[in-house]
Point group: C2
Chain length 477, copies 2
Amino acid sequence: MARPMVLTRPARREPGSIGARFAESARACGIRTSDGELQTWFEDRRRANLFSVDRIPLSGLQGWHEHRHTGNLVHETGRFFTVEGLSARTGPGPDDGWMQPIIHQPEIGVLGIVVKEFDGVLHLLMQAKMEPGNVGLVQLSPTVQATRSNYVGAHRGRGITHLEYFAEPGRARVLVDVLQSEQGSWFLHKRNRNMVVEALDEVPEHPDFRWLTLAQVHEMLRQDNRINMDARSVLSCIPFEGADDACDWDEYRETLRRGLRDDLPTRHRDADNLLWLTDIKARAELHQRLVPLRSVRGWHRDEDAIRHDEGRFFEVMAVNVRAENREVSAWTQPLIAPTGQGMAAFLARPVDGVLHLLVQAKVEAGVRDVAELAPTYQALPSNFADLPAHRRPRFENEVLNAPAATMRYDSAQSEEGGRFHHAINNYRVIDVGTGFPLDEPPGFRWMTPRQLMSLLTHSYYVNVQARSLLAGLQTTW
Amino acid sequence: MARPMVLTRPARREPGSIGARFAESARACGIRTSDGELQTWFEDRRRANLFSVDRIPLSGLQGWHEHRHTGNLVHETGRFFTVEGLSARTGPGPDDGWMQPIIHQPEIGVLGIVVKEFDGVLHLLMQAKMEPGNVGLVQLSPTVQATRSNYVGAHRGRGITHLEYFAEPGRARVLVDVLQSEQGSWFLHKRNRNMVVEALDEVPEHPDFRWLTLAQVHEMLRQDNRINMDARSVLSCIPFEGADDACDWDEYRETLRRGLRDDLPTRHRDADNLLWLTDIKARAELHQRLVPLRSVRGWHRDEDAIRHDEGRFFEVMAVNVRAENREVSAWTQPLIAPTGQGMAAFLARPVDGVLHLLVQAKVEAGVRDVAELAPTYQALPSNFADLPAHRRPRFENEVLNAPAATMRYDSAQSEEGGRFHHAINNYRVIDVGTGFPLDEPPGFRWMTPRQLMSLLTHSYYVNVQARSLLAGLQTTW
């Protein structure tokens, strides 16, 4: 391809920068927790936390009821979240509109990781936390996952371990603090605060928490269902930099290292990527309106779940959770359970030696502003299995049938276990190589990992699946 | 004050950059249109366009009706906009919630200015356009104001002069293209596409359009009610730079010039401003829900308008518009009419010789994401006249009683005349000088004009009143 590359901006690498310190942590053995201790502790937490999660009929929900007029699923306290109906429309035609159940949770929570240097190396304080929808139930989570009512008001922080580092001024230095969206297919306008703070004093020990280097977190993230969605989202927002001093690397790592730098040529200028996205948002209509859950056409309610009439997409089901070591020792709640396993993948290739990812601007029912930047492919393949090829998502063949040798990252991860039941996505970064066409179908664009990461200082550019993949990609360098 | 200043980033000034080219245009006499011709043409347009706008009873609206179930004001075609009810809540307390009428218009329109060089100087193609709610009716507008249905689909561009430069690829080079919000008190989640494009070929002449230098536009913007809101919004998004080679300037202009540069110390780093805003958004709750207009408490409908029970805020009224030189020669429509004249002002002062503005993170009923950056003071003073001092907006005294000599910018401007009737704000930039305290009450922060302008490459950071003031500020250098 003969199109010119453009140089975005001059180099500005600082050895003591936050990005460089995290890059150092990504190469460091555990000082506070050895790899062996980590494995033992994690398995021990999974065993020690004897939770049981059992599916129950919708009518077995306690504290939750169907709202009299709307049929919405609401909690008697008005807290947590509601399941309502959404009417969405992407155009004037008869096939451009649909209705679906959606989770409505306008509160902003905190997903926060405390970091601290030990022997000059940043460590992340990770929590072993149970969430009823997680595969394996206990996964590594951010230091804190808190709702807004936890961190504001008179009782802030009480009862949530380490929340003071996020709620009280002067306890920590804020390194990352940005609102990011969550699943646009299942949530209406949902977002959380993604934070990383550096503790300024001693942090008390607690059996559910361990200090890990970024290298150790990365190793866990290469395994299936170990690092929860909230942690992956926060990790993606860290201003991670590739190191300069690498040697004996293979060619892929060299292109990735270059793809993380901000002083090398990119296919498109950063500013032009924003113009491109504005154009897509302005042309692709998305009208959203909450409607009574009872009025949602194409879905029905039976004893066990609210389901799509053709069995597609997802169902709203209910579970009973018993947690033997908690004050609240049992509760019931609704969860969303997708009808199949999902796939989220970036096709990647070097362009003049710099790794680029094929990014999709994706419209989803519940996004805040029409479209966000998403993986090349993001879908439940089973939703499309009976459709002709031209109606299936682009690049499906390249993603589903990728040769093992081209998969730089490939793992199964659970989506938010507090809202979704066994919502597993296979996350893949597939290096398609320089032979792959640089063409960009409408809605697709080649961008470097650094270009996507620099957008993560702002809200609602990069969707949660793309963020999970960026966190995964960082494990491969 | 002893707090340290921080240096944000190295200089990167490029002589041929877009910002530098607009700075050049801001000093250039009109080449295509002399100042005298401009005045003659503008007055002629005001005279030639014999529109009459008359208030009518709400029941006199034609094509508009009250929706049977909701009482919402809707057009029979489903086009244009609707007036609905909004239930807003900023906290759990009884005084934290309110209801109000609100304009709902989810479509994204284009506000676009075509620019072109004549004799090496950029000129802006401005339109003399009538809008029924404008003071003076005809004001200078962007080249194009178009709805989404105008610029997508089979008939794109037809009937709207010069729309092809925005709708057809290859006709122009895109310099600016970003979605920006509009009045959060009166619109729910409204935004438009702010564009500046440079024409690549000859642009046909048209009696309603003139090529003006930025200097000429600035001169009009220093007068009352000459430049419409859409034009002010687009002007604020231009990456305007201060010139380097100024001489015999007064001290204020020198501090402003320095406040437009990106290589000088600022009170806060750009990245820290974003962290500050995230914190505010996460702590200041805002829950929004559309409700039937009929169910809005605290408002009532009479023959002439929908009004607040205490006569505050605004009313929804109706007008009959007769436009003698149009295909559609008459129409009726609802408009929102505020109950008094508004005020939007930035307090400004140099900090170490660099002009800073006191920016407010303001929560408004209809904003897309809790809060946006707003002027120091933005209110209808009459809404607060009978309240005790501690319940009135901050800095009211400094703004309303500012000495004339401190006002660097002071003009009355109309808000969007297609939706608002004589909605006039006094826009002021008040130079309070180095004696003014640098304290920052909660929700306020000193930022340079350049810091605000750099956020205008992204959406929904800077609200429309602050953008009008930034456009006004640029006229003062």
